[in-house]
Amino acid sequence: MSDLVNRRPTLRLYLAGNKLTAAGMILSVLLVGLAALSPLIVPHDPLDQSFLSAGQGPSGEYWFGTDAFGRDVFSRVLVGSRISLSIGICAPLLAAATGVWVGMVAGYFGGWIDRVLSRSSDLLMSFPSLLLGVMIAAALGPSFQNAVVAIAIALFPRFVRLARSATQVVRREPFIDASIAAGRGPLTIILRHVLPNIGGPLVVALSLWIATAIRLEAALSFLGLGAQPPTPSWGNMIRDGMSDLVGDPWPAAFAGAAITLAVLAFNMVGDALRDMLDPELDV
């Protein structure tokens, strides 16, 4: 019997034609790498204060300048990226890990199961995500774990919704019926046939929500509910920098720039993944 008709488009083929998104993907990998290695590569100790060097602009020694306490802004941004990116990545992962299951069950079974699960999730979603995050973080007390939980709870219903609608589409496909006809039970079908086939939109959503989670974390720590001083995070650097924006804009400016860059990079990753996984798109 003669051979094959199609080959799946590869990452290289896609990136070759989309320089901008390739740049975004490289950037996000770079950021994560830098964050991971940050304690090893910081030029200065981020907690090291020096009144003599306070309030300086970018220079050969302090690449991003110094803040009000004479601490190297570059080092603080670098170390702060660890906090911001790890919360920004862990929270959506947690939300996805829980929300996707709920969504798949709701979407597959329909009926009263769907109604109960969807209504509960919608209730949660009706709170503005930042407000919800603030409420939970304030209630639990500011810490790394609690920030992750707070943001995850805020994002959870969005994953439920996405997984539910993607599951409903897949549920109607004949290959699900074929599996039922083979005798498979519903939970196995969900795991084996539904989950792999809704992976595409989920991965895209995950990248995009990582971008949002980074912003949410920055907002939480700006409000004092995230990492506590002297540990730097991008949000609290902006908060501290607010008191003297005219005289010493560097901490806030560079921390803000870092947030923007990270959000942009992960958005691009999300777009790139969506395009790559789109079966209709002609590579």
Binding site: M1, L4, E173, F175, A178, A181, A182, G183, P196, N197
Partner: protein, 329 residues
């Protein structure tokens, strides 16, 4: 042409009804009292146009859609009375092949796992090696090569995918396969390959088919008996040759005469029906076909004609059933 009517039928369906609730609070009767028998190793074609309920009937046989009322007896066992575990065991014997080869195979799985799914569920192969051997055997049976084991569905053409679907259906050794428009989505030259394959498999394994199709030429070739459906009801059931040579129900007559014939010399004396196929949500009273029927009488509007014997193993649901040989000039 019919296979062994004296033996107890493999499948016996009585009064099958399926109602779907509509948003207005009413219900649509997609299938309205369908009854037929199928003997082992026989092919019964369910023929009709869109909305006639043939696909829904096929799905009900496997309980992919639960009937509203009616009975289905398979090998003497009441399928509708089975609990979940017992039904699961019975599923070995009843399988299905779908119309669209592009969505009937799980896209992310490899061919080996797709075909082996029934084997896995029913524990039919003890070892990985036995499983692989069985899948290779099935691939060969449907005319594909063993090298395709590790591949994904998207790497295959429509005809090849349909063969994979047939291999999956054969895997547990079923006695009945419901084939829902299995060749309609394929190119003409591939259709004939797959039809031949299905016939070979029937000859070899004695599997019975409920062959759902709107393509009358294919049905003529593969089916032993034909059941014509219109708006949820059976209008004529008889042996294939008998139907095609001289259909008795006016709808069968129109359907057969409307089928385009690939021969410019033959101008079939065509009965062109007026109007559209009504939707199942808006079913006419009495005989469902009466608004479009060329020989309709007042009684047709009032009384539903029952499906009754009109001689020689043929049943028709018409107050005025009469043979009309399809004439060719």
């Amino acid at each position: 042409m019919s296979a062994g009517t004296s033996r107890a039928p493999l499948l016996s369906v009585r009064g099958l009804v399926k109602k779907f609730p509509t948003s207005g609070g009413g219900a649509v009767k997609a299938v309205d009292g369908v009854s037929f028998d199928l003997a082992a190793g026989e092919t019964l074609a369910l023929v009709g146009e869109s909305g006639c309920g043939k696909s829904t009937t096929g799905r009900m046989l496997l309980r992919l859609t639960e009937p509203t009322t009616g009975t289905i007896h398979f090998d003497g066992i009441d399928l509708l009375g089975l609990g979940r575990r017992a039904l699961r065991q019975r599923r070995r014997e009843l399988q299905i092949v779908f119309q669209d080869p592009y969505s009937s195979l799980s896209p992310r799985l490899r061919v080996e796992d797709i075909i082996a799914e029934p084997l896995d569920v029913h524990g039919l192969c003890r070892t990985q090696a036995a499983r692989r051997d069985r899948v290779v055997e099935l691939l060969r049976l449907v005319g594909l090569d063993a090298m395709h084991l590790r591949r994904h569905p998207f790497e295959f053409s429509g005809g090849q995918r349909q063969r994979i679907a047939i291999a999956r259906a054969l895997a547990p050794g079923p006695r009945l396969i419901v084939a829902d428009e299995p060749v309609s989505a394929l190119d003409v030259s591939i259709q004939s390959q797959v039809v031949n394959l299905m016939q070979d498999l029937q000859a070899r394994f004695g599997v019975a088919y409920v062959f759902i199709s709107h393509d009358l030429a294919v049905v003529r070739h593969i089916a032993h008996r034909v059941a014509v459906m219109y708006l949820g009801r059976l209008v004529e059931v008889c042996d294939t040759d008998a139907l095609f040579d001289a259909p008795h129900h006016p709808y069968s007559q129109a359907l057969l005469s409307a089928a385009p014939v690939p021969d410019p010399e033959r101008r079939v004396c065509r009965i062109v029906l007026q109007g559209d196929v009504p939707s199942p949500a808006n079913v006419p009273g009495g005989c469902h076909f009466h608004p479009r029927c060329p020989i309709a009488q007042p009684v047709c509007r009032e009384t539903v004609p029952p499906l009754r014997e009109v001689g020689h193993g043929r049943s028709a649901a018409c107050h005025f059933a009469a043979p009309l040989p399809i004439s060719i000039s």
